[in-house]
Symmetry: C2
Subunit: 477 residues, 2 copies
């Protein structure tokens, strides 16, 4: 990572976090040069990057300022999930979301799909092609059940950035983060067990719990600081919880970064009640701040954290390459991996290892983070413009998805049916809850570069919401 990018990231996060307010003058180039021990031109480069990201605006002869604030909508409210374990439903609604075939005629704002059209992915495609042309055809063989050695070495290196000191031997490659999560859950839990989850929570995990006959205990979650430790402690006191499953970094769907102090406190809680933590970090590398956030795993000193991740959000989901760092549960996860898919496909593992080794990952991430951060602001602006007043919107600190909260009694399931006719699809909120809460919420993807077509789709969503709200009012009236 070059100096100016570091500096820009630092300044950017100060601006983002309100340390400098809209209209404030930012430190002079000279002052920053002295403070950080870098050249004047490095600071200038950093400011240009901030300018590109819409975080700084130059005024001739006066230096750089924080642009006058866009209106930022209110954050979603903290849910009050019922504090008892429940059996999970909503499979039908998830199925509706995932069975949709990629279709040029439908703008799928609901999927968790990253932008895979970036030219920074080209070296990956070249690797895939060149492995296919090798005469010894390594891609055709079974590999070691742990996964390709050189990929595990590269991932161990990446994990240093999130504070984890792990080796290749601590890792098992999986078929996407889905398999990482499901093998972890199965390694720790049995049918009838209870797992505490952040709420709202990734629908894939909800459905895994359902499929395994495990009950979910939904813990209220703050849209800025994450899972409520107070509510969690109460739950641990009351129920025989086996594991805590959560996404502390760039949470799906809320987008927050759980503060480090709370990550440590969560670990202490887990130790006190002797439960495992299944940590989903699939979006962690897409945090807009630099350096990337730490994982709970990075504090783990007794092997109780199973860290799950993948390249599906950072590179491409079609590759289906993820990994687990299962701590003390390594042997059990290995067994579950073996019975789930045998081994993982060889060729994509080799291609990703090439890509990482060739130094292509960091520049790619840098580009995507910038694009996604701009995408968030654009999508937020559109929602302000096209959605009814009072709409609450998350403020993601990474990844590429927005959580939108409408009036309490609004029904997004009904909304989606009207939208499908218009060639638009959103993810309904209820699939992010074990018990079908969040029916008045929806999740929207802003990974793709903004286009008039996407703006039109967002406008349609807003107009349909407005119409449905008006209809309801007139019915009541």
């Amino acid at each position: 990572m070059t100096l100016y990018v570091n500096l820009a990231a630092l300044l950017g996060s100060r601006i983002e976090n309100g340390f400098y307010r809209p209209g404030d003058r930012l430190p002079s180039v000279r002052a920053l040069s002295l403070e950080h021990g870098v050249s004047l031109s490095t600071v200038q480069q950093a400011y240009r990057l901030l300018e590109d990201n819409g975080l700084a605006a130059p005024k001739p002869k006066s230096g750089y300022f924080v642009p006058m604030g866009r209106t930022v909508p209110a954050l979603p409210a903290v849910g009050k999930p019922a504090l008892r374990p429940v059996d999970i439903s909503q499979w039908e609604q998830v199925l509706e979301l995932i069975r949709a075939v990629p279709n040029a005629n439908v703008i799928q704002l609901g999927r968790g799909m990253p932008d895979v059209s970036s030219p920074t992915l080209k070296p990956l495609l070249r690797s895939l092609a060149s492995i296919s042309r090798r005469l010894d055809m390594p891609g055709l063989y079974y590999d070691n059940i742990y996964g390709v050695q050189c990929l595990r070495e590269q991932i161990a290196r990446l994990l240093l950035d999130s504070g984890c000191q792990l080796t290749a031997n601590d890792l098992i490659i999986a078929t996407g983060c889905s398999e990482a999560l499901s093998t972890s859950i199965r390694a720790v839990c049995r049918e009838g067990d209870i797992v505490a989850v952040d709420s709202p929570s990734f629908h894939g995990v909800m459905q895994t719990l359902k499929g395994l006959g495990i009950k979910a205990l939904e813990i209220p979650t703050d849209p800025v600081t994450g899972i409520s430790l107070e509510a969690l402690e109460l739950a641990l006191e009351q129920w025989p919880i086996k594991a805590i499953q959560l996404t502390p970094n760039c949470n799906n769907p809320l987008g927050y970064l759980m503060p480090d102090a709370r990550k440590r406190a969560l670990l202490v809680l887990a130790q006190r009640y002797d439960v495992a933590i299944i940590e989903d970090d699939v979006y962690g590398d897409l945090a807009y701040s630099y350096p990337r956030p730490r994982t709970i795993k990075s504090y783990d000193d007794d092997g109780r954290v199973l860290l799950c991740s993948s390249f599906s959000k950072t590179l491409a989901p079609g590759l289906r390459i993820g990994w687990v760092a299962p701590g003390r549960y390594l042997e059990q996860v290995l067994h579950m991996k073996y019975i789930s898919t045998g081994s993982t496909a060889t060729q994509p593992q080799m291609a990703i290892a090439d890509f990482l080794k060739g130094g292509h990952y960091e520049p790619h991430l840098r580009r995507m983070r910038g694009q996604y951060q701009r995408g968030r602001d654009q999508m937020t602006d559109w929602i302000i413009r096209y959605f009814p007043q009072g709409t609450r919107v998350s403020r993601p600190q990474g990844s590429f998805m927005l959580w939108v909260e409408l009036a309490d009694d609004f029904d997004t399931l009904r909304l989606n049916r009207f939208l499908l006719d218009q060639g638009v699809q959103v993810a309904v909120g209820s699939i992010f809850s074990a018990s079908g809460k969040y029916r008045n919420c929806l999740r929207m993807n802003y990974a793709a570069k903004p286009t008039p077509l996407i703006e039109e789709a967002v406008r349609k969503v807003g107009a349909t919401i407005t119409r449905l709200l008006a209809e309801k009012d007139s019915t009541i009236g």
Copy 2:
């Protein structure tokens, strides 16, 4: 399939099945030409093919004869597994087999690995490479959870050969046959349930049952006709069995083809006791006889058969592409697939669809079947030469693995430890049993073309067995 290949396959299976005995004169070229309505040169081509396969030998001016029998060793005995459900063990031994990294210094006679060095696989590699070079990068996207449409259509076409009338919509693509089997088992069974299995049986299924807390009820299995229907009926009478899991075609590890009448009878039994059948057909396309054998699924008229298969044995395991035809359990398998790996990798699906559509599959299979059949005979000859007298050996009707049975009290676990020092590995028999039976058996792979190196490895296995037997005798003496 051309005429002469059909004719050779027909004659070959008659010879194989003992209709013509060693030393018998085979029908004249003229007689066959009349009988089958084909030209003389077609018959001559068929005989040349049989000659290549070692099934016919020309005598000048006298026609073709069945070669004077090689000594065929006795078949393995029918096991007498205890008729009660057991919890499964042997994970440590399976782990030893699968954790072995591909290593040029160890001849792995134990793995279920096909020969992937055939030039007939080249079009597949070309497809993989060309998909990677496409500008729209389809391999990077999530596909539909059911799997790529054009691949499902091609598989539905292939399934016609085994007597199945299915459409693309009846199929779900999986990450190898492993995922096909584990999603099927989870779709039908819960923790604590009982599944009846053929015994010996594929270790992957054993470990899946173990991982899911399901008990296995091992049914005795005949090395020629397969699972004992009499014992199965008794078991169904006595126990609340949820499903029957078996590999009726080119059974792993015994290699038999279950006769069609017994397949039908098994289905009738399953209907009478209302249990599901989970049919593993992963080796079915590698049967040496033509046309390829029917599946139990092909007789299924009420959707109770879940047919599982993959391209791991016919094309290459590193691709990790399999499928399920789950019948009435489609919805449940889809759910289990979703929570297991989300969707299946896109690029290998597209490449295999290209390969099938391009007509490359049948010629490839034809070549591999011939190679494997010759491999079986070669490996059998080596065992006769190098193994102690009294060794029993299976006579596979397809696939590429031999089951070898040694004296009752022989310990193949101990054997394998001695072999590893000599750079050879076999699969110990106990992993093919839920309860650790078959410790005196081993499985050997004959997929690779015979080489002096492999012969030397087989010789080492035989010599080590002989030495261990002698040691034991002297200890007893």
